[in-house]
Structure formats: structure tokens, C-alpha cells
């Protein structure tokens, strides 16, 4: 995807946009394969260092990267 608005630096943004777009597509197709009437509403990826939250839509994608509480 092409980033429209970001708070991170350019290279990171572009990387996240490209990778997460594909992942969201894959996740959505998985959900719909299992049940065609279902759809992906939210995607959360937790890793050791951050949590990445993706809210997909027909055309846009909102990505939030958060550090854990502590």
C-alpha cells in the first residue's frame, strides 16, 4: 500500500505499509475462505517488543504500533 499519513520515518513507514498490506489481504482471504459470509475487522499482531494493530477497510488501512504497558 501507499502511505498517506504517518508519524514514523519514511523508510519504516514504507516497509510496514508494504508488508502489512499483504498480510491483511492474506488474513482476509483466510477468514473468507472458512466462512464466505465472514469478514476481517481487526488484526492484532503481538511480538516481543511491540503490538501492531491493523484495521482494514475496502480501500484504506490504519496501522498502529504500540509498545507494551511497562
Amino acid at each position: 500500500g501507499i502511505p498517506i499519513r504517518t508519524t514514523l520515518d519514511n523508510s519504516t513507514t514504507v516497509q510496514y505499509a508494504g508488508l502489512l498490506h499483504q498480510l491483511t489481504m492474506k488474513a482476509r482471504s483466510t477468514v473468507r475462505d472458512v466462512d464466505p459470509q465472514n469478514d476481517l475487522t481487526f488484526l492484532r499482531i503481538r511480538s516481543k517488543k511491540h503490538e501492531i494493530m491493523v484495521a482494514p477497510d475496502k480501500e484504506y488501512l490504519l496501522i498502529v504500533i504500540q509498545n507494551p504497558c511497562e
Partner: protein
């Protein structure tokens, strides 16, 4: 009559050759008495007529006689009586027939007789049995056939008689095998041969043929080069600014954001509420390891160092671990003085040379290095930026500097004693000599001593290096320190003053001292001493002097210990030190040469460095003050300020005043029979104060790894381990370390597994103990818990103050 003949012939052909049908006239009948229905009836149809009669009749009547046709037969008839049968039924064609043969006659008669007998059953007439009469056999030609068929011996049979002796019968028989082919002619074989008569040559044969294509397998391997991407270079597509602006303001984006923002908020809130990264499993393990099983010995004795020559009758005043080299610990010793002697120090003359000894873990017997001191050293510290610079405070109030950069390598390569012995084991003769040579540790002379005039009047009891990110100048303002080297010292002494010192020394890296001879310096320094602070020698003046006295009440404080807020610094690793020491540096001026006492020209003034400090005094008071001078003060010498607080908690001199390594505003003070924990900013009093204990507390330190643990040494040689999270009214554990009074404690982290505690006592013995795991590893959330505890105490204090006001 010819009819009769014919009929007779016919009858003979039919099968009854002896039956001749006759016609009897009545005359004949009368003659022979065979009248129909009178003599001969149907039932009684037989009539025997004599042959003679017939012949007579014949003669008399010749051709008229009825017997004429059968005249011949009659004549030939052997018997005497002839049978004539009345044929009522005309069976044979006529009314009477003549039976020609005796046999038939008898048969018929018998028949008739039987019938007659049957008819006359009642009558007992028995026919007499007539035995069959032999008749001569009449050959009819069958004997030839019989003859042919019968078997007759053509040859007379030969008779053989074979006999054998009787005893040979029934004897046991032995059979043997014999190959038939060995004996000639023992067998006859009939070999097969090809009989030509039976071989037929086939000239034509019908055969079916199937055509199959010839198949052959073959394979080859070819090198198929197919293009594969080795590397791709691309750049991401991006929208231009206008496009971005356009899409940002589009309606679709707004709708999207409104629809999505709620979900995102929920997720963020969830994260806020709960920490998603919390590893329960790991936390469980940590709990178990800390709570399971108390170790028997909290402080395990690891090593102990003592030296008989230099440390005889001496007590240790200060212990310092070498910041970078593992296993090197430095100890300063001083005379054991009673209290009065300590007060009247000026009278005391020092007989024995005092030294600072460097010990290595690998060699507990021989000290590695010795630093020569002009007098007894009460305290010393390694410089944090360069561990080769050591500053110490002397008994006569001077501040001494050493530089051990020449011996740094030796310290780093301190080998275990075993290796040395192995090397020298070859030569036993020289071993003793070598050992003797090894026993003398190199003596390093101090390279700078402050001027006696401007130093303290009383022993310097505490010395600290100031951290490297700020420095003061003479006016007392703090400035940024660009060089990141610690260049300033603060000392305090019971003569009621706190002095700040500067080190504007020319430290030239790694250049042997003899090269410096060409410098135009007048003072002569011995060759083995690096001329680091050459020009400071004996003319080193302090930068700032602070007199601790209350301006209104005119009471002085004799500070024994000082603790500055910004005293936290980390020791730089030797890597950085090495980089400082490379020869590339001299291309630009060494940083030390830039410094002068008034070097604060273009440096930034740091406002947010706190200049407050705690001071522990001789009389057991804790004073909290700050050294920043106010601008526009008239007096030439900067004086202490108005906002000082004083607390009298301890009964005797404060011997320890230390900030917690975890909380910058928490201070531990130990003196006399109790200790107290203070928090900066809390003016009511200490947040924790211990009760008076039986013995005196003589030394103490916070633990470096656990926020709520500190060690306190007593005068009976025990160490109390206090854990604020377990018990606050008594130590959680105590351990006896030595017999005499503990004079100094110093914890150290050598590695993640090895935590040491160096304890020195009054007898001059340095003991290094290993801290067990439970004491060295903080439990989960210990930091937070201790912080919590402190805050609770603060609140309690406030509450109490309010209550009692």
C-alpha cells in the same frame, strides 16, 4: 389228394413237420371207430390206430382210403400205433390230423392225458411213470461248431518239477544292490531311434506374427540455465504531496476513519488495561526460585587477603573495587587510633609508611600493586572516566592523586598463582629467587598532592569524583563538561568545609615519562612517576570552598560524609579508556590541556543539575543543603546558604551516608547505634529509622542489585542483612564474618552470576564474600514494591505530622 400233399408240405414248412391233416370220411370213421361225436369228441380227440389196420385198409381200399396220401409216412412210422387227432376246430385245416412222430404223439397224448387228468381230478387214475427212453442222438450239424470252439491241446504239455533242499527254505535272505548297467547284458533296452517312416517334413507352416515397435530408453542431462533474480532494486511508490492532500481530504477517508476508529480505541484500551506481554510462566518460575529454600549461608566466604608486612596493626579505612578489571580490589590502611588520638592528630608522627594495596583474586598472598601515600589514607576513589587515576584523602587534610596507567597491563594480566608456580617448577633452584622477586609489589608514588595550605586542616574523610557531565567553576555555577572526563573532586573534612577540586592536569596518553624531559618544567619528578599532574604538585588549590556553618546560629558542622545528588555515574569500560589512550589523540590537544581553572567560557550553563547534598557530621547530625551560590553575593568567599536542614538522629559520628543505587532521592545514613533512611524532599524526618541496637553499627552499604536490601557491619564482626520488604524492625539475616569490628563494606557485581561483598575489619584482613542468589537477584516487582513502601512511609510521616500539629 394233391391238396393234402400241398397242405402237408405247407405244414411242414410252417413248423410242424409231423402233423398231417386228414379228412376222414364216415366210412373211414366207422372202420376205425373214430366217429365224430361218438368216439372222438372235442375233448377226447386222440385216437390211437394200429399201424396194421392202416396198412390193411390201404390194401383194401387203395386209393380210396384216407390214408393214401400219408402212406409213405405210415409205412415209415416206427411205432405200432399211430395217433390221429380229431381237429374240431380245423386247426390244421381238416377235421383230423395225423401225428407222424412218436414224440409228438406222446407229447400230445401226455398233454391230453394231463388235461384228462385235470379233467378227472376226482378220479384217482394215476398214470404210471414212464422213465425217458434213450433214443439215438440225431446229428443236425451242430457238432462241427462245437468242435471248432472247443480248446484242444495241440502240444503236449511239458511237465517240470523243481525241487529244492528243504533246509534252504525260509532262510534269511540278504539282498544286495547291483547296478544293472555293470553287468553285461543284464538288461535290454530299447533305444529310441528316429524312424524315417514316421517323419513328416513340414513344408508349410502357419505362424502368427505381431509387429512391435522397437523401444529404447535413453537419457541425457543438459545444463538448463534459467534466469533467476539475483537481486532486485526497487523503490517504493509514493504519492506526491498533492495526491496525499487530496486523499486525506476525501470523503471516503473520513468515513473510513470514523468506522475504524472505534475498533482501534477498544484495542488500545485493552492494552492499557492489561499488559499483553506479561509472561506468566516466567514470572512463576522467578517466584519459585526466590521463595524456595533459604540458603544456609547468605554470604559465602570466597577469599581473604591480608598482608603481614604492611598491614600489621593497621585497620582498613576504605575498600574500592577496580571498576574495570575483574578481581582487583584496592584497600587503604591506616593506624588504629583511639578516639583521643584521632582528635589530636597533629601530634601524631607517623612511623610506618602507609600504603594502598591492590589485591587480585588470583593471588591472595602477594599484593599486586602498592601506592605510596604521604600519610594515612582515610578514603580514596577510582576516577570513573579513567580507572588509572586514583584520588585519595589523607590524614593531614591533603588530597593525593595517583596514576597507575603504567601498571594497568600488569593488573589486567594478573595470572593465577598456580600458573606461575607451574612455570617456575622447572627450575627449583631459581624458584625461590623468583618468588622473592615476586613478593615485592611495585610501588607507585603519588603524582600530585594538594597544597597543605589550602587543603583541609583535619583528615579528609570523604572524597568523591564529580560526574562527568557537569563541572563547576569558581563562581559555583555548573557548566556542561564536554570532554566527558571526570575532572572534579569534592572532599569534606571535619574542619567544617567542603572543597571542590579541579584537575587541570596535563595527562599525556601512554607516553613514557622520559620523553617529557624536553618540557620546560622546573620541578623534578622521579622517572617512574608519570608527570600527569606535575605542575599541580604541592600547588594544587581547591576550586570552591564551602563552609558549613549556620549563618545565624554560628554553629559549625564537621562533615564526615558527603553525598551529592548527582553522584551517579557509570564506569566507562576499558575500551573507551583504550581509545583515549591511543596515539592518535595527540594530533589534537589532549583534553586536559585545554582545561584551566576558568574554562567555562563557551560552555552551556546547566540549570537542571541539582546542587543539593547531604552531609553527615561528626556529631551525628544530618545536614541537607546546597552549594549553589547566589548571584550577587557580596562576600568574597561563597558561603553556605540559608536553606539547610539539620536532623539529629544518630548518637555518634555518621560513618555512612549513601544514596540508594536505585532511587536517587533515598539516602541511607548509619551512625552509632542506629541507622536511618531519608528521602530528599521529605523534611519531616527520616522515612525509616531503626531502633537502637545492642552493638554499634560501624559500616554499611546498599546492595547493588536489590533495591530493598542493604548490609550493615557491626563492631562485633557481624554483618546484618536488612531486607526492607521482609522486615523493617530487625535484620532479616545476620552473619558473623570476623572477630573484630567491621570497618568497611563494599559490594560489587563482577558478573551476572558473581556478586561479591568485600568486608574489611579492624585487624587488617580483607574478606571477599560471595553473595548468594537470593540476595543478589531481585524478585519480581521488587523495585516497584520498595518504591511503594517508601511512598507509604512518606505518607505516614505526613499524616503523623498533621496529627500531632
Amino acid at each position: 389228394h394233391s391238396e393234402f400233399v400241398y397242405q402237408a408240405i405247407l405244414l411242414s414248412f410252417i413248423g410242424h413237420p409231423e402233423i398231417f391233416p386228414l379228412v376222414f370220411t364216415t366210412k373211414t370213421q366207422e372202420i376205425f371207430n373214430c366217429r365224430v361225436d361218438e368216439d372222438v369228441t372235442e375233448e377226447n380227440c386222440f385216437k390211437l390206430i394200429k399201424k396194421e389196420d392202416i396198412i390193411q385198409d390201404l390194401k383194401t381200399r387203395a386209393t380210396v382210403s384216407d390214408f393214401h396220401p400219408i402212406k409213405k409216412v405210415v409205412l415209415e412210422y416206427p411205432g405200432e400205433e399211430l395217433l390221429v387227432v380229431f381237429d374240431a376246430k380245423f386247426q390244421y385245416g381238416q377235421n383230423f390230423y395225423f401225428v407222424a412222430s412218436e414224440e409228438a404223439k406222446e407229447n400230445l397224448l401226455e398233454e391230453k392225458g394231463e388235461k384228462g387228468e385235470e379233467n378227472r381230478e376226482e378220479t384217482l387214475e394215476v398214470h404210471p411213470y414212464k422213465p425217458p427212453v434213450h433214443k439215438p442222438w440225431v446229428s443236425l450239424g451242430s457238432e462241427k461248431e462245437v468242435e471248432e470252439e472247443s480248446v484242444k491241446d495241440t502240444v503236449t504239455k511239458i511237465k517240470y518239477m523243481i525241487s529244492r533242499v528243504r533246509r534252504k527254505f525260509g532262510a534269511p535272505v540278504t539282498f544286495t544292490d547291483k547296478n544293472a548297467s555293470h553287468v553285461k547284458d543284464s538288461y535290454v533296452e530299447c533305444t529310441s531311434y528316429q524312424d524315417k517312416t514316421f517323419s513328416i517334413k513340414m513344408l508349410e507352416k502357419d505362424v502368427g506374427i505381431q509387429m512391435v515397435p522397437k523401444v529404447r530408453e535413453a537419457s541425457t542431462q543438459t545444463k538448463w540455465t534459467y534466469p533467476k533474480n539475483a537481486a532486485t532494486q526497487y523503490f517504493p511508490r509514493q504519492l506526491s504531496n498533492e495526491e496525499k492532500g487530496e486523499s486525506l481530504s476525501s470523503e471516503k477517508l473520513k468515513e473510513f476513519l470514523t468506522s475504524v476508529h472505534l475498533r482501534m480505541e477498544i484495542a488500545l484500551q485493552q492494552n492499557e488495561i492489561m499488559n499483553a506481554f506479561f509472561d506468566d510462566w516466567k514470572a512463576l518460575a522467578e517466584d519459585e526460585s526466590s521463595s524456595g529454600g533459604k540458603p544456609d549461608v547468605y554470604l559465602k566466604a570466597c577469599q581473604s587477603f591480608t598482608d603481614l608486612r604492611y598491614l600489621k596493626d593497621r585497620t582498613m579505612s576504605c575498600i574500592c573495587w577496580h571498576p574495570t578489571i575483574y578481581g582487583i580490589i584496592a584497600v587503604s590502611a591506616r593506624e588504629r587510633l583511639s578516639h583521643e588520638e584521632q582528635v589530636n592528630l597533629s601530634d601524631k608522627s607517623l612511623l610506618q609508611q602507609s600504603v594502598i594495596l591492590f589485591w587480585s583474586f588470583f593471588d591472595p598472598i602477594h599484593p599486586q600493586l602498592m601506592l605510596e601515600c604521604p600519610g594515612d589514607i582515610y578514603c580514596f576513589q577510582f576516577s570513573p572516566s579513567d580507572p588509572n587515576i586514583i584520588a585519595g584523602g589523607c590524614i593531614n587534610g591533603q588530597v593525593v592523586l595517583w596514576d597507575i596507567s603504567q601498571h594497568e597491563e600488569k593488573l589486567q594480566n594478573a595470572k593465577p598463582v598456580a600458573d606461575e608456580i607451574e612455570i617456575t617448577a622447572v627450575n627449583m633452584v631459581n624458584a625461590s629467587i623468583l618468588n622473592i622477586l615476586h613478593t615485592e609489589p611495585p610501588l607507585v608514588r603519588y603524582c600530585a598532592v594538594s597544597s597543605i595550605q589550602y587543603s583541609h586542616n583535619k583528615p579528609v574523610t570523604d572524597i568523591h569524583w564529580l560526574p562527568d557531565y557537569f563541572e563547576d567553576n569558581q563562581t559555583g555555577a555548573t557548566f556542561e563538561n564536554r570532554a566527558e572526563i571526570c575532572v572534579q573532586l569534592v572532599t569534606c573534612s571535619p574542619d567544617c568545609s567542603v572543597l571542590f577540586w579541579d584537575i587541570p592536569a596535563t595527562k599525556l596518553p601512554e607516553q613514557p615519562s622520559f620523553e617529557k624531559v624536553r618540557e620546560k618544567e622546573i620541578c623534578y619528578m622521579p622517572l617512574d612517576v608519570p608527570d600527569t599532574s606535575k605542575h599541580l604538585d604541592l600547588c594544587w588549590k581547591p576550586l570552591i570552598k564551602i563552609n558549613l556553618c549556620e549563618s545565624d546560629t554560628n554553629t559549625d558542622y564537621g562533615p564526615v560524609r558527603i553525598s551529592l545528588r548527582e553522584l551517579h555515574y557509570h564506569y566507562k569500560t576499558s575500551g573507551k579508556v583504550q581509545s583515549l589512550n591511543t596515539l592518535e589523540v595527540p594530533t589534537k590537544e589532549s583534553p586536559y590541556t585545554d582545561m584551566s581553572t576558568s574554562s567555562g567560557k563557551n560552555l552551556k550553563v546547566l540549570e537542571n543539575i541539582s546542587t543539593d547534598f547531604f552531609v553527615g557530621t561528626e556529631d551525628g547530625e544530618i545536614v541537607y543543603s546546597d552549594w549553589k551560590t547566589e548571584i550577587g553575593s557580596d562576600s568574597a568567599k561563597p558561603v553556605s546558604q540559608e536553606h539547610t536542614q539539620k536532623y539529629t538522629i544518630h548518637t555518634e559520628t555518621v560513618n555512612t551516608l549513601q544514596r540508594s543505587p536505585f532511587f536517587k532521592d533515598v539516602v541511607l545514613s548509619i551512625g552509632g547505634r542506629n541507622f536511618a533512611i531519608w528521602k530528599e524532599g521529605v523534611t519531616n524526618g527520616p522515612i525509616l529509622q531503626s531502633s537502637c541496637s545492642a552493638g554499634r553499627y560501624t559500616a554499611g552499604q546498599w546492595s547493588l542489585t536489590r533495591p530493598g536490601v542493604f548490609f550493615i557491619g557491626r563492631d562485633d564482626g557481624n554483618i546484618d542483612i536488612w531486607d526492607l520488604l521482609k522486615k523493617t524492625h530487625e535484620p532479616s539475616h545476620f552473619q558473623s564474618i570476623s572477630e573484630s569490628m567491621i570497618t568497611f563494606i563494599s559490594p560489587w557485581i563482577a558478573s551476572s552470576k558473581q556478586h561479591f561483598l568485600a568486608v574489611s575489619d579492624d585487624l587488617g584482613v580483607l574478606r571477599v564474600l560471595e553473595i548468594c542468589q537470593t540476595l543478589s537477584h531481585p524478585s519480581r516487582n521488587e523495585h516497584a514494591n520498595v518504591l511503594d513502601y517508601f511512598e507509604r512511609e512518606v505518607k505516614y510521616l505526613k499524616y503523623r505530622e498533621q496529627e500531632f500539629q
